[in-house]
């Protein structure tokens, strides 16, 4: 049985922890709002990009001059996985969920006899994946120093990927990130970005109708300029969704921690009070029995 002093110390320490988790929760909430705004602000671009892409693919009509980034190399021997995770922990199962999805994917690919290469974006994913697949990790991108995610960061990653593709480093590229559904639910997602595949014609531009476009320069040339840009946009979107998801996960994890600490304080206080009462009673009994003995 711990002494009263021990209990007091423990209550004080749990209270200090609770204060920290509470503060972290509030910081995460503020950052989440900012991340969500950033994700929202980036949406128009990727939407329009999708529409334009659909439009041009239609113009080309799946002709032979579509760039390789879109049609692929025609093989699927070497897979590149870009695994995007957070830079920091303390956000519940956020990082491990993404890593688990990636690991399942890798295991399946390896079982099929494919070659796997991994690029880790974010420190946490690297920490998890290097345990099993250190040999496959060919590169890692550290975004720790980055205060606000910009398109530049995504562009740098995309350039790396495209460069590798042009060198024939891989055939299929899949992007792993966490889709931000809501504050309490983030869905780990795998998205194939190379080959991009033809976007559905359903994204037909609404304001243009079926008007015949003029292209400057040729559609094929625009497309070859557009596809790499689209990959950057996809990576950027994944990073933004990840940032929002990380903050959401951190917020709910810290909320849980704060609540747990509260429960613990309650329990400890009850034990403390009970013991204090027992001690008082004991002292009273001692006094009374002492007085009776006289």
């Amino acid at each position: 049985m711990p002494s009263l002093k021990d209990l007091r110390n423990r209550i004080a320490s749990v209270k200090a922890t609770q204060k920290i988790t509470k503060a972290m929760q509030m910081v995460a909430a503020a950052k989440l709002r900012r991340a969500q705004e950033a994700a929202e602000a980036a949406r128009p671009y990727s939407e329009r990009m999708g529409a334009v892409l659909a439009n041009i693919t239609q113009a080309i009509g799946g002709g032979g001059d579509a760039p390789a980034l879109m049609t692929g190399t025609g093989k699927d021997d070497v897979h590149l996985l870009v695994v995007c995770t957070a830079e920091r922990g303390l956000c519940g199962g956020f990082n491990s969920q993404i890593a688990r999805l990636a690991r399942d994917h890798i295991r399946k690919l390896l079982a099929d006899g494919k070659q796997v290469k991994i690029i880790c974006v974010g420190k946490k994913g690297y920490d998890i994946l290097r345990r099993d697949y250190a040999a496959q990790v060919i590169d890692r991108v550290d975004l720790r120093e980055v205060k606000t995610l910009g398109f530049v960061n995504a562009d740098a990653i995309a350039k790396k990927v495209i460069h590798l593709f042009n060198e024939g480093g891989f055939d299929i590229c899949t992007l792993f990130y966490s889709q931000f559904k809501s504050v309490i639910s983030q869905i780990p997602t795998a998205q194939q970005i190379i080959p991009a595949g033809a976007p559905s014609a359903a994204a037909e531009t609404t304001n243009g109708g079926n008007a015949v476009y003029e292209y400057e320069p040729e559609p094929g040339e625009i497309l070859s300029d557009l596809i790499p840009r689209n990959i950057s946009v996809q990576v950027f979107r994944a990073l933004l969704e990840n940032a929002a998801g990380e903050m959401g996960a951190k917020m709910s994890a810290m909320d849980n921690a704060t609540r747990n600490a509260g429960d613990m304080i309650n329990k400890l206080s009850i034990t403390y009070n009970r013991q204090r009462q027992a001690q008082i009673t004991k002292e009273l009994i001692e006094i009374i029995s002492g007085a009776e003995a006289l």
Partner: protein
């Protein structure tokens, strides 16, 4: 007064402009063009340069864009820029960095085609610098 149409300038980070405008001057890859209402549908890539927007209220705004493309339809014009800033907010250091990068690209180009492309990009950037930064 000319008829107004909807113009949108979008960068990956955010929607910069979305308003009714009278005319827009776009630095197209194959030459500058002025877009007004009821323009024939055109899709063009753009080179680094200045976009001049004349709003329906008669104000003139200028933005610096670094590559991207424009989607023009009779009812409106959408400009997807890789990066765009108002001329007043341009960061000299950033521009200098881009020029430096372009120079390096031109220097490490492996074949003639990429080199000529990189050099073209570099010259566009330096022209842009000369145009917006009065020495």
């Amino acid at each position: 007064m000319a008829e107004a149409f909807q113009f949108e300038l979008v960068s990956p980070e955010r929607l910069l402009v979305s308003e009714q405008v009278e005319s827009v001057v776009i630095p197209g890859a194959e030459g500058e063009m002025t877009v007004m209402a009821h323009h024939a549908p055109v899709m063009t890539t753009i080179k680094p340069g200045v976009v001049t927007v004349k709003t329906a209220t008669g104000k003139e705004e200028r933005y610096v864009v670094f590559g991207g493309f424009a989607d023009i339809v009779p009812s409106g014009c959408t400009l997807l820029a890789e990066s765009a800033v108002a001329v007043g907010d341009i960061d000299r250091a950033d521009l200098a960095r881009r020029i430096q990068e372009a120079k390096e690209d031109a220097a490490d180009a492996k074949d003639d085609q990429t080199r000529s492309k990189a050099e073209q990009f570099l010259s566009q950037l330096t022209t842009l610098e000369g145009a917006i930064l009065p020495a």
